[in-house]
């Protein structure tokens, strides 16, 4: 039982990290960035390349090294996200929503199969593996590395929340979410803030990608597709556009999946998760912590 809870929290913290980027971008420019899951994939592959360039890894150093790689990867995927926004999304910001969604699907496709062309279709084995001896905590088995990964995820989430609620930058983001035109009149550089939002969201997705690669040990070019869908589910459960809600949604989805797998069997896990998504959208489309928004015409 506690084992299920811990597993759920662990997987949920990945979901939450990826979902945060989704949720931030959606909150600010109301765009569903389908390519977000693929930025996670890009992060995993970038981490793979950086680790490969760093050469042999002594197993005693693996954790600090991994944190260094994590930061490098975050910078790279963040810049990729900014480039994506600049090339594919900014020119269409005033276009009908359908064109923007189709562009996002195209971006996702281009990233996935571009990576396939570069790195090949076969799964790659991560050079760093977080094994370690499991500890007994409250009757559940956890490795210290798992705990470190959860801690890193929590630090990122708290940092992001502080950034959005306490800083000048965060205030600009919230202002743009409310009304981009008035924000521009108040002297906010809207394009720059949106770029930086993409940077943050993509960097978090990249971090989750490296962590997933190091934990599961295997990466492939389609790994972002499913997690993109799951992250969206997490964001919807918590309330899309709402940062604490999204974190809650991620953890909750992880727990639900963990218990769903236990009751129904692993092959139904994804069906269960998407079922939850559809249920939430029908019953409470604003999510647990989201506010009801009336659409202006």
């Amino acid at each position: 039982m506690t084992q299920l809870v811990w597993n759920g929290l662990f997987v949920g913290s990945f979901y939450a990290l990826v979902a945060l980027g989704y949720s931030m971008v959606y909150g600010i420019i109301k765009l569903l960035n389908f390519a977000h899951g693929d930025l996670y994939m890009l992060g995993a592959f970038t981490g793979f390349a950086v680790l490969g360039a760093a050469g042999g890894v002594p197993s005693s150093l693996s954790l600090p090294l991994l944190l260094g790689v994590l930061l490098a990867t975050m910078a790279i995927t963040g810049l990729a996200g900014v480039a994506l926004e600049r090339v594919a999304y900014r020119p269409l910001r005033r276009a009908p929503r359908l064109s923007l969604l189709i562009t996002a699907v195209g971006a996702s496709f281009a990233l996935e199969y571009g990576m396939r062309a570069v790195a090949g279709a076969d799964p790659r084995v991560y050079p760093v593996r977080l094994g370690g001896t499991p500890l007994e905590i409250l009757g559940a088995r956890l490795t210290p590395q798992q705990l470190v990964l959860i801690a890193v995820a929590v630090v990122f989430m708290i940092g992001l929340n502080l950034l959005v609620t306490r800083t000048r930058e965060g205030r600009a983001m919230r202002a743009i979410a409310l009304d981009p035109r008035t924000s521009a009149l108040m002297g906010i550089d809207v394009n720059a803030v949106i770029s930086r939002t993409f940077f943050l969201g993509s960097a978090l997705a990249g971090a989750a990608g490296v962590m997933a690669g190091a934990y599961y040990g295997k990466i492939d070019f389609l790994m972002g597709f499913l997690i993109g869908l799951k992250a969206f589910t997490a964001a919807v459960i918590g309330g899309i556009g709402n940062i604490p809600g999204t974190m809650l949604g991620g953890l909750l989805l992880g727990l639900l999946e963990s218990f769903g797998t236990f009751w129904l069997g692993g092959e139904w896990r994804d069906v269960f998760a998407f079922g939850v998504l559809i249920l939430f959208l029908t019953v409470r489309p604003t999510g647990l912590l989201g506010e009801r928004v009336t659409e202006r015409v």
Binding site: L98, I102, A110, G114, R116, E267, I278
Partner: protein
Amino acid sequence: MKTGAAGPKVRRRGVDRPPTRVSRLLQNRWAGAAGLLVALLAPFVNATPYALSIMTSAAIFVMLAAGLNIVVGYCGLLDLGYAAFFAVGAYTSGVLATRFDLPLLATVPAVLAVTVLAGIVIGAPTLRLRSDYLAIVTLGFGEIIRITANNLDVTGGPSGVYGIPHLTDGPVSFYYLTVAVVSLAVLGAARLGRSRLGRAWRFVREDEDAAEATGVNTYRVKLAAYIAGAVWGGLAGVLFAAHLSAISPASFTFLQSALVLMAVVLGGMGSVPGVVLGAIVISLLPEVLRDLADYRFFLFGVLLIGFMLVRPQGLWPARSKEALRSDEALRSEEALK
């Protein structure tokens, strides 16, 4: 597209310009007949089993694109799980035909019933949502259907259903049957687009709130588009099952849905001839670009972005009767001044 706007004259691309020779050719009413003629004569040029199989697949793909065009092109609802309906149709007919030894034709009523039901089950809860939520929910449904087919025993699990009876006795006659069915389906979709319902669909696509305000029941209209799309996809699934005589979950991945969407966007959303052209291009492209197989899907993704940036109306854009009429009205107004 808002037509007839007063105030400073805005040049709208493709509307204000007088029709060029190419666009007049594209609007020719005989374009469809010419296309059908080409399809009918193709087996006389090359009738190897391989070529026939490719052409039959292309025709089935045309039918899928025509169905998705109803949902995406006419009504403006992004469906990213269209392969789900294709799968529902193929599996319903395949399972019924193999379990109960029915001829494939006898399963068609059941397929119709099941696809309509699937359209309602998927559409009813999701069509009240914002359009971008709908996109991702349909994506989820596409995965649900595929994973379910993969897990159940009735559907044969990962290896799927095999030994599905053929509809006709030879590949040539099956090709002609497919062309006939697909032509009817394309024609039906085109007629539907010009009907009262079709006008309501386009109204919803252009401005849902305005449509609601003028008394269009937008929810029911959207559900109708969704069900129509489901039926087209399901019937294409029957043809698919008959063509390959074996189906498995691997045929109904997100990739398949995305390819159909690609065909619709490339050809021109809402334009029936454009969508047919797009479907033929997308389904025959792998045969032409064999050496580029690794880069094909990458290219598709880049093309999707490029088309949306540069030419969102597609290769063969739709020109609705209303636009033509308001064009004429504008011109006669200017002549009066």
